[in-house]
Symmetry: C2
Subunit: 276 residues, 2 copies
């Protein structure tokens, strides 16, 4: 999916919501645990209940890998289910990969050829040759960690170098010499507040994938105020607050209600920014 298509979907659906499929076998409703494929059954119900309210899904690989082979099967089935039934969805593998060139190439092949995902999150620490292999697939995206939503983001990402540039700024500035905003997004945590202004100074046109709204406490309004650009430029992710909105048999309709609240707020924000 290219940037224009993504923006069109955002306008049509009046939403820039990404639903994070951080599906934890310990947290899904107990009645689903009797099913043959409980993780997929949960995901399918969540997807069917939310697909008209969001523009992207983001399965977090850790949750699937923690179950070994069974989890990997559930991950693949989930991706295929979205691809076949909701072809307008942007599917992100939240994998935070990044390795030497030949290894990154294996990951890229896995995510973009074997599974036909739209994007993968990548960690920047190993530099250009760890990221470049992911950029060799037209229409596929790298979402590079910029300024993350967690407390530990302060440990290294805010370190100022001898030229006065913070590490996340250097990462975002340097990465733009590797790829255009048609293939490169950045992860910027919703908890970073006014730092979104600094992010937009460095990356005015790139889409930002924004985790940290909801369970992690970030404010959607603040993110839109400081982070939205003329093409929206935001995919705001919510995982736990939506998918675990209820722990009983009405989990899917509860997830829908929660997603609807977020979509409603997003519609308002898109209006107030003149995008709708």
């Amino acid at each position: 999916m290219n940037k224009e298509q993504l923006f069109e979907n955002i306008k049509r659906k009046k939403s820039f919501l990404c639903v994070g499929l951080d599906t934890d076998i310990e947290k899904i409703p107990s009645h689903l645990r009797q099913e043959k494929e409980p993780i997929f059954a949960f995901n399918k119900a969540i997807i069917d209940a939310t697909a008209d309210l969001c523009v992207a899904y983001k399965p977090n690989l850790a949750f699937y890998e923690s179950l070994g082979v069974e989890g990997w099967i559930a991950f693949e089935k989930t991706v295929r289910y979205i691809r076949e039934n909701y072809p307008d969805q942007f599917i992100i593998a939240d994998a935070k990969r990044g390795d030497i060139g030949n290894t990154s190439e294996m990951y890229a092949h896995s995510f973009f050829c074997h599974l036909d995902l739209d994007a993968v999150t990548v960690a920047p620490y190993m530099g250009e040759d760890s990221v470049k292999p992911f950029l060799g697939y037209p229409g596929k995206w790298v979402i590079l960690l910029g300024l993350t939503s967690n407390k530990g983001s302060h440990d290294f990402q805010l370190t100022t170098d001898a030229e006065g540039e913070r590490l996340f700024e250097k990462v975002m500035r340097t990465a733009q010499t590797w790829a255009s905003d048609e293939q490169l997004m950045f992860v910027v945590g919703a908890t970073q507040g006014k730092l979104f202004e600094d992010v937009r100074r460095i990356a005015p046109r790139n889409f930002l994938l924004v985790p940290g709204v909801g369970a992690q406490g970030g404010s959607l309004e603040e993110v839109a105020t400081y982070g939205m650009n003329s093409e929206c430029g935001l995919l705001v992710n919510s995982s736990r607050k939506i998918i675990y909105a209820a722990a009983d048999e009405r989990f899917a309709s509860a997830a829908r209600e929660e997603a609807l609240k977020v979509q409603y707020e997003m519609e308002h924000l898109l209006h107030s920014k003149g995008i709708l």
Copy 2:
């Protein structure tokens, strides 16, 4: 496995070799591709041919994930095969993970409980709370990326901050406030030459996992000269040069010959450093 046991294994086997199981379906001998489980068949033969010459195995997750479910099965079978048949081997999941706390916890559970691996490689960009969950398992290790072997390591890892400290130094110094050298190793690429002296100034006692000897061109002698400490303190990895030493039916014996050459050089280096 604790540090003392690892050092004992190194002295007993006169080797600090780690064999990297970067098994690529495209590169294994063609006669194996007829087998039902070609990746596992290849790994089993390589392991049986090299286990007395090395102290560690390092499957690189990317190579397995690129094959989807089938690859994940091969990865698990390989780890279980080593665990059951060669219990003195230190098994490293080369995964380069690192995510927000609850996600890193899922990975840690996957690698240390579900699979009983000894160590996992972790990326430092997201800071303390992305690494800490891996440290909650006694006898299990985090191997944090410090100074990697690839060209892109210069993009960010060598950036000097306002206090004159380079990023890899800050990472290695800071991480030592999170864990002792009984649970924390660092990745330092063999291609970094004299920078090993700087690494040892910051981390005199930590084991270093050293990729980049062999196909990537690093020198084993240089690594030992600048990086070895009184407990050896090195696990030097070689992947492609050993496992793809021959592409025909004698691939396993060719791998053994290559591993034997490295072990022989390591024995000499351990002697010359007074460890043997």
